[in-house]
């Protein structure tokens, strides 16, 4: 996992609420056994029309989108399916941060584990950001995970919270598996006092 400490970038704005993971990456692209390559299909059905042509009005098709590392989305982003292909596709496209006012639980967990930072801003701060980006679409936003602050184009700083453990993993570019593997003795102790409920083998 690529560590993430702070980044300053322009944004792509997709303000719809309740964007589900079927939109982020439609199921027909889940037949892959790889993590990479999904960026080409990110938001496939919104990006491309029935004839396979890019819809010019869709924000991700703007030439400016290619160098943006921040996606600004609406409330409850990532609801629905547990597919980790959703954060993989966002990362593969080039995003490192998604800003919203709230995320679906499984999406947030998956994002944090793959190096995509979900930033939940307060509703007023999120509205301010949308207004400022409507005025200056190329304006830059700074996300600092160390201090857990988002600095908007107008220079105002707004706090966000990331689980301390997930934050540690993201800052250092380590995943949780290393920590869990170190719990071997505690896991073995648990297993010695708790009989298995079933046996599948």
């Amino acid at each position: 996992m690529e560590p993430i400490t702070a980044l300053t970038s322009s944004c792509v704005v997709l303000p719809a609420e309740n964007v589900d993971t079927d939109q982020i990456i439609p199921a027909r692209f889940l037949k892959t056994i790889e993590r990479r390559g999904l960026g080409a299909h990110l938001f496939a059905d919104w990006r491309v029309d029935a004839h396979g042509q890019p819809r010019p009005e869709f924000p991700l098709n703007s030439p400016d989108a290619r160098d943006a590392s921040i996606l600004v989305a609406g409330h409850n982003f990532g609801c629905g399916s547990s597919r980790e292909h959703a954060p993989w596709a966002l990362l593969d496209f080039g995003f490192r941060v998604v800003i919203s006012t709230g995320f679906a639980d499984i999406f947030r967990n998956n994002a944090l584990k793959t190096g995509l930072l979900p930033v939940a801003l307060s509703t007023p701060a999120h509205s301010m950001l949308l207004e400022q980006l409507a005025e200056s679409p190329r304006a830059q936003v700074t996300i600092d995970l160390q201090t857990q602050t988002a600095t908007l184009p107008d220079g105002t700083a707004h706090a966000f919270v990331v689980d301390p453990f997930a934050r540690h993993c993201l800052l250092n570019g380590v995943d949780e598996l290393g920590f869990l593997l170190e719990q071997d003795a505690a896991i073995a102790a648990y297993e010695s006092t708790h009989t298995s409920r079933v046996c599948t083998s």
Binding site: H85, L177, T200
Partner: protein, 472 residues
């Protein structure tokens, strides 16, 4: 003395390898890990990269369901959609072989949708923690098991350590009392709950379904309700186990037997919320006031009674909600204030982990018997497992569906996920017993109306969305 606890709190406490601290989430033990072909290959690849074995293959079971074809087997062979789907199915075989995991593959008589076969095999038992790389893992909560969906990274963590890092979710009671009117089913209850709570309304919560209406439901109906807990944003849904639960489990292949069974039932009887336990939130629903429900929009919370009217976006409480509704009605080609009754459909789908069990098929068949699928409508009936299929055939349900002009398929996720060959064409409309009506969920450009098996069958024979209560 411990303070009064909810069912969720009891199961949570019983699975803590390490309690959570401010800096570290809890280390939670998983009693059962279910694996399928779509969300596991990258997890096995990670294990291989690290040289890590699967810690407890004896607590792990794999099956094939998502990219699995459901077309009738000709000469015993299944026709997989394409090379990529074949490679994915083959990869699961390779992974299970290499890591020593039991696989109910396509040629196994126990194969089926992962959330159908767990309960069917007696693997799903009260008080357990169950995880799977699939959001509808919440289904297993019907047995009083804490069951939730995880991503592929977490699939890898559980394979390697049998544990997960988790912050304790909050707890919401959903109480449903009263007697269900005729024509109203478990599917209608859960669609009404999601409409009330909202698409993200239960985010961060585990739901506990209580009340007399829940107690009177059979296990398959409870599974339908718990299955869709995720559609309100909840991690999991739970029903406290009772005699209905124990009767369902008794005698199943992986259920305890003999003295172990007696001991298990004693343990399971302790799994109900303490009388004075309190919840972070509570919602209530009166079963007697419910009608058959159907969705009109592009997420499962956009649902109305079948004889109701499509809401007007201009009545929405916020600008965002109005935009959401506007977009949904445009996609679904609906007008505000319109009735859905009589709206023509192209396809009817009975199946998925929500409604593909024997009781669902019996309900649909009861409507279909002596009737015919309307001209121009395609109806697919897809049993949730090979066991369900055999049971249905032994009862003659396959004949009912085939004689009515419906297709009778092999077990799998089918048209719920549209990655296996079963799907809508752009612009087509379907009444579907599955769980998601997101844009394109059943095929790019397809329009989905979620409803119960009764409503689906009534629609199939009518050729348009129909109220099963007014079918003569």
């Amino acid at each position: 003395m411990t303070s009064p606890r909810t069912l969720f709190e009891k199961i949570w406490a019983d699975h803590l390898v390490r309690p959570e601290t401010e800096g570290t989430p809890a280390v939670l033990y998983a009693d059962l890990h279910l694996v399928h072909e779509v969300t596991s290959p990258q997890a096995f690849a990670e294990l291989r990269r690290r040289g890590a074995p699967v810690r407890r293959p004896d607590l792990t079971l794999a099956t094939m369901d998502h990219s699995t074809p459901t077309t009738p087997r000709s000469a015993g062979r299944l026709h997989v959609l394409d090379a990529q789907a074949s490679a994915q199915l083959e990869q699961l075989e390779i992974n299970c072989e290499e890591f020593g995991i039991r696989l109910f593959g396509l040629d196994d008589s126990r194969q089926g949708i992962v959330h159908v076969i767990g309960p069917e095999q007696g693997l799903t038992q009260p008080g357990m923690t169950i995880v799977c790389g699939d959001s509808h893992t919440s289904t297993h909560g019907a047995f009083g098991a804490l069951a939730f969906g995880i991503g592929t990274s977490e699939v890898g963590y559980v394979l390697a350590t049998q544990t997960l890092l988790q912050r304790q979710p909050r707890n919401m009671e959903v109480r449903i009392d009263g007697v269900l009117p005729r024509g109203v089913t478990a599917k209608d209850i859960i669609l009404a709950i999601i409409a009330k709570v909202g698409i993200g309304g239960a985010t961060g919560h585990v739901l506990e379904y209580t009340g007399s209406a829940i107690r009177s439901l059979g296990m398959e109906e409870r599974m339908t309700i718990c299955n869709m807990s995720i559609e309100a944003g909840a991690r999991a849904g739970l029903v406290a186990p009772d005699d209905t639960t124990f009767e369902y489990i008794a005698g199943r292949p992986f259920a305890p037997a003999g003295a172990d069974w007696d001991a298990a039932v004693v343990r399971w009887r302790g799994l109900s919320p303490d009388e004075t336990a309190s919840y972070d939130r509570s919602v209530q629903l009166d079963a007697a006031s419910l009608a058959p429900m159907i969705t009109f929009g592009t997420n499962p919370s956009m649902a109305i009674p079948i004889d109701g009217r499509v809401p007007d976006p201009s009545d929405a409480e916020s600008r965002a909600e109005r935009a959401d509704l506007d977009k949904a009605l445009r996609y679904m080609a609906l007008e505000p204030g319109q009735s859905l009754l009589g709206r023509a459909v192209d396809v009817v789908f009975v199946g998925s982990c929500t409604n593909s069990r024997i009781s669902d098929l019996r309900q649909a068949a009861a409507v279909m018997r002596g009737r015919h699928v309307a001209a121009g409508v395609r109806m697919l009936v897809v049993p949730g497992s090979q066991n369900v299929k055999r049971e249905a055939e032994a009862e003659g349900l396959d004949r009912v569906f085939l004689e009515a002009g419906a297709e009778w398929r092999e077990a799998g996720c089918s048209m719920c996920i549209a990655m296996n060959g079963d799907q809508l064409e752009p612009g087509q409309s379907a009444v579907s017993t599955s769980n998601r009506n997101f844009e394109g969920r059943q095929g790019k450009g397809g329009r989905t109306f979620l409803a119960s098996p009764l409503t689906a069958a009534a629609t199939a024979v009518s050729g348009a969305i129909a109220d099963v209560r007014s079918l003569s």
